[in-house]
């Protein structure tokens, strides 16, 4: 296991008071928290600081840490032979775990020196899951690789790699969290297992945009299609359908395709909205230009009537 110098990470002396440690951490947390920091490697640094503070703020954990002796940052080391028993841990297999795992055993979800025989619920795990639009729309089975910390009855912790197959229900959206009951860390001494939480990301689709259960797409129309009305074939996530575009459709107007949005569980599916975008040809030939001129001369339509001074009061 690699040694981490928690005091050095927080920039305090080894005999620093609890207040000094708290103040140092708070100052650094403000500077390096990934949500607010613009520093390089902020996330990595913040994780190290949080791990250091988690141990040093707790008198019992700090005493246990101090008894590991002084080593240089990153040096391979093993805790002293009787270290585990002194702090209520098992005989101590320290393979496959790191310093953070070791101290996670004090209180929280692992075996504790305070109440070593008490059943404890396993840790909750959290994992990010990236889905394509189609996976979110239809639901999907995904394989998730985990590297969870597990404890045996003697209190020895080790990292156990495992792959679990998860059925993600249809209709999930970006930023949503899902729960997989009982698939977090195993409970200790008869306690229940923790849960696994999935942070869902849904990749952008080139055509469809998600808003809750509704979907939006752009529907380009030629000016004459918008004026005269037409019927067009449009794609939906479940296949092409015909859409009637009423005469006089304006740019930005939403045409509803009922029930073609996301379905969630047994609930009513959302709608797909085709947003009319009036497009014009980049070039026209002489004959077409003549037709447009004729239309311009014969039309009384003024799209800027509401901008005229006499109408603005």
């Amino acid at each position: 296991m690699k040694y981490k110098d928690y005091y050095e990470i927080l920039g305090v002396k080894r005999d620093a008071s609890a207040d000094d440690i708290k103040n140092a951490y708070r100052r650094l947390a403000r500077k390096y928290h990934p949500d607010v920091s613009k520093e390089k490697d902020a996330e990595e640094k913040f994780k190290e600081m949080a791990e250091a503070y988690e141990t040093l703020k707790d008198t019992e954990k700090r005493a246990a840490y101090d008894q590991l002796g002084r080593h240089t940052q990153g040096e391979e080391f093993r805790p002293p032979p009787d270290w585990g028993q002194s702090f209520g841990q098992g005989a101590g297999s320290f393979e496959d775990i790191d310093l953070a795992d070791l101290f996670a055993a004090f209180g929280g979800g692992g075996p504790s020196a305070r109440r070593p025989d008490a059943p404890r619920r396993g840790h909750d795990y959290e994992a990010g899951v990236s889905l394509t639009f189609d996976q979110a729309f239809n639901g999907a089975e995904i394989a998730l690789q985990m590297n969870g910390l597990e404890w045996d009855e003697q209190g020895n912790g080790r990292r156990v790699p495992r792959t679990i197959t998860i059925r993600v229900p249809r209709g999930v959206t970006h930023g949503e969290k899902l729960r997989v009951p009982g698939k977090g860390g195993p409970g200790y001494r008869g306690g229940p297992a923790g849960d696994l939480y999935l942070d869902i990301e849904v990749a952008d689709h080139p055509l469809f945009r998600i808003d809750g259960r509704d979907l939006y797409m752009d529907l380009p129309l030629a000016p004459w299609e918008a004026v005269l009305g037409t019927e067009v074939r449009v794609p939906t996530p479940a296949g092409e359908v015909s859409l009637k575009v009423p005469a006089g459709t304006r740019g930005g107007q939403r045409l509803r395709l009922g029930g073609r949005g996301l379905a969630r569980g047994s609930g009513t599916p959302g709608n797909l909205y085709a947003v009319a975008r009036i497009d014009v040809p980049a070039t026209v030939d002489d004959a077409q230009r003549a037709l447009y001129r004729k239309l311009a001369e014969g039309s009384t339509f003024n799209p800027r009537a509401h901008l005229q001074t006499e109408n603005r009061s």
Partner: protein, 105 residues
């Protein structure tokens, strides 16, 4: 050998959660969770009921509270204020996503 498939659930599928379940999930003390109710960060379905129950979304609130406490070393009063701001950020982000979906990218 057949693969065992675990089912991921929408958070709201959990229905309601008891106060005890919430304390367990939060990994916080009972007093901390009571404080979060006192400061308005958590709302029981019926605060006058002898046994508090909460909507499933409370699970995500206490999980966030627990993370914020760990990361920023906040007391419950500060936590409840930060949770309020975080909720506003969530709402604004959702509105932004919605506007982007409606107007096009």
């Amino acid at each position: 050998m057949s693969t065992i498939v675990e089912h991921a659930l929408y958070i709201e599928e959990q229905g309601t959660v008891s106060y005890t379940e919430l304390v367990t999930v939060a990994g916080m003390s009972e007093q901390d969770v009571r404080d979060l109710v006192r400061y308005g960060a958590l709302e029981p379905i019926d605060e006058s009921a002898p046994q508090w129950r909460f909507g499933a979304e409370a699970v995500m609130i206490v999980r966030r509270a627990s993370g914020l406490r760990r990361e920023f070393d906040l007391d419950t009063h500060a936590l409840s204020i930060v949770l309020g701001y975080a909720e506003r950020v969530d709402a604004l982000e959702a509105e932004l996503r919605s506007l982007r979906a409606r107007r096009g990218r």
